[in-house]
């Protein structure tokens, strides 16, 4: 139907494959997010630390440069598990902050004005909807977490030689697994909590609040009960335990690795259940 004709005409053309339609929602969501200057600036800021790490790796392999900087002993601490553990800490924290800022924008605008029935009355499932939102979040978080992490590892391998890469390949695995696990967890947490609060600001505060509340409650339980079991609800301690195990660095956290994995798995399952309960075309009042 042409605009000037002003009469309705059906559609008899070709259709796109259903398997890739979830990317449409991710694309529109990305375009909306990128209109925000704050998000663009935040993403740029998130690249500062990887750039600093890159400079460090360059300096560590460049004695002339170190000499010019007058570093005592002419050597920097080695690029090892500790170095990448610190990298995971910084970038992981930034990933959590960005999730708290952007996940409410992804989901609350659909919930606030009842747009969900419009998605689900089409050949588009709830799983695809959540998949689209997760794809967008994971894509954005990957840009400044595990992707630059692996690039740093590759650069260090290039400068230190093939033998170093072979003996330290567990670092690459640790960076990838540790950060992917983390961004999946925070993305699920961000979406699940945002799905239950219609106001963006409140949803963002809730996502941040869970982080601090978990740490606070965990410490309180430990103090009152005189145990160490409260640590399992402290998300920071849980992920630090996993990172320190994967990157073979003793961070001094008194939590069994298995417990940390179980705690993280439980958090993810709870988030999926929360999403399944909330992301639906309409509410059934029994």
């Amino acid at each position: 139907m042409a605009v000037y004709k002003r009469s309705y005409k059906g559609y008899t053309g070709v259709l796109t494959p259903p398997s890739s339609r979830f990317l449409i929602l991710a694309r529109y969501g990305y375009a909306r997010l990128m209109r925000s200057k704050f998000v663009v600036i935040f993403l740029a800021v998130c690249m500062f630390y990887p750039l600093a790490c890159l400079t460090y790796i360059y300096a560590a392999h460049n004695p002339a440069f170190l000499a010019r900087l007058s570093i005592p002993g002419g050597r920097l601490p080695p690029v090892d598990g500790r170095f990448f553990y610190l990298y995971c800490n910084v970038q992981g924290a930034l990933a959590y902050l960005l999730t708290a800022f952007i996940s409410p924008a992804l989901i609350t605008s659909d919930l606030a004005n009842g747009a969900l029935p419009l998605y689900f009355c089409r050949p588009f499932s709830r799983r695809e909807y959540v998949g689209a939102k997760l794809t967008l979040l994971l894509g954005l978080l990957s840009i400044f977490t595990w992707i630059p992490g692996l690039l740093l590892f590759a650069i260090e391998s290039n400068l230190s030689g093939w033998a170093w890469m072979q003996t330290h390949f567990w670092i690459a695995t640790g960076i990838f697994v540790g950060l992917v696990i983390w961004i999946v967890t925070v993305a699920l947490l961000g979406l699940a909590l945002s799905a239950w609060v219609k106001w963006k600001l409140a949803a963002g505060a809730l996502v941040l609040g869970v982080f601090f509340a978990g740490a606070g409650f965990g410490a309180a339980i430990n103090e009152v009960m005189r145990t160490n079991t409260g640590t399992v609800i402290d998300l920071t301690q849980v992920i630090h335990t996993i990172w320190s195990d994967l990157l073979r660095y003793d961070a001094g956290i008194d939590m069994p690795v298995t417990t940390a994995w179980i705690a993280l798995g439980t958090i993810c399952v709870i988030c999926i259940l929360l999403l399944a309960r909330r992301v639906r075309a309409f509410e059934v009042v029994k």
């Binding site: 002003r6 053309g13 259709l15 529109y28 029935p117 419009l118 689900f120 050949p123």
Partner: protein, 320 residues
């Protein structure tokens, strides 16, 4: 990669005479509460009105057809596709305009409608082109670059209609489309519904508690009450089915004609000479009127049944 529409069974045209909607003992329960109880009906009209008082189960029926509500027992099909087993195919054929607010406030109308078109399977360029077209069609052409959050209620209703038809569905389900509209906006909405019906491109289900909206647009009605079908009829047939009320005009000397009709058991009133309003008794045959007129040498100039309005039909259904 794009797929030819001909190979996608989900969007193939319905075969001739396939009922638009067919229900067979369809029951829906929320918890222990039965919302829809054993609905059995076959709807074939081009425009189907879904009527009933508030809480009758109209919206639940629509949501069940779209696969939003779990079916407790029985079956339902849309163009032959099972609403439980082939939900995706059903949704590919349907456009839905919900009753309540449904939009993304931060998106412009053209982005929103285009996105909905793409999710329905239209290629990106086609979806954008059709988004512009349908927004012009519904009368939002000049406001299509405005964010939906800034729209008035009437404009939001039109935007909802636009997203429901952007992908060219075979069946459009409109849930209370005139809710909250002022008279000009309501007239505009009804005109659009009539135009869509007359385009022959789609079939429509209009769910409303406003009898006049349904009367103006629909050919077939399904009346629900407390989750059960209390009436289902072709509106044109139904309107003429009640043949008890007759308007009669005669020319000639009609003295005693009214009395003679009363003698045959008819309740008769004469408003002006030559004009009679009759209520016929059960089993009465019209040829008796012609016989009486013949005996008195009266010419019958006009004889017609008074048509039942949808309100009559609805009230009778409610009483039943």
């Amino acid at each position: 990669m794009l797929q030819p529409i001909q190979t996608d069974s989900a969007v193939s045209s319905p075969p001739p005479k396939t009922p638009v909607i067919q229900l067979d003992r369809l029951t829906v329960c929320f918890g222990r509460r039965e919302i829809l109880g054993g609905l059995t009906v076959s709807l074939t009209g081009r425009t189907i009105g879904l009527l009933g008082p508030n809480g009758a189960g109209k919206s639940t029926l629509i949501q069940t057809l779209l696969g939003f509500c779990p079916v407790s027992s029985g079956t339902g099909t849309i163009f032959g596709h099972d609403i439980v087993r082939a939900t995706r195919q059903v949704r590919a054929l349907v456009g839905y305009m919900p009753e309540n607010d449904a939009f993304v406030a931060e998106m412009t109308a053209v982005d929103f409608v285009g996105m909905m078109g793409e999710i329905s399977g239209l290629p990106r360029e086609v979806a954008l082109e059709r988004a512009h077209e349908v927004l012009f069609y519904v009368g939002l052409g000049e406001a299509r670059y405005r964010e939906l959050g800034t729209y008035s209620l009437g404009m939001k209703q039109l935007a909802k209609l636009a997203q429901a038809i952007v992908h060219g569905p075979k069946l459009v389900i409109l849930d209370e489309p005139t809710n909250g509209l002022d008279p000009p906006a309501r007239a505009r909405m009804l005109r659009l519904i009539r135009e869509m019906k007359e385009s022959g491109e789609m079939q429509l289900v209009l769910c409303s508690h406003l009898l006049r909206d349904v009367e103006e647009t629909c050919e077939e009605v399904l009346i629900l009450k407390q989750g059960r079908i209390v009436h289902h009829a072709d509106l044109a047939v139904e309107r003429s089915a009640n043949q008890r009320f007759v308007d009669l005009e005669t020319v000639g000397a009609d003295a005693g004609f009214a009395a003679a009709l009363a003698g045959l058991g008819c309740a008769c009133s004469v408003s002006v000479p030559g004009r009679f309003k009759l209520v016929l008794p059960a089993g009465f045959e019209l040829k008796e009127i012609y016989r009486l007129a013949g005996e008195r040498d009266l010419q019958i100039r006009h004889l017609s049944y008074r048509r039942d309005t949808l309100e009559d039909i609805f009230l009778k259904a409610m009483e039943n």
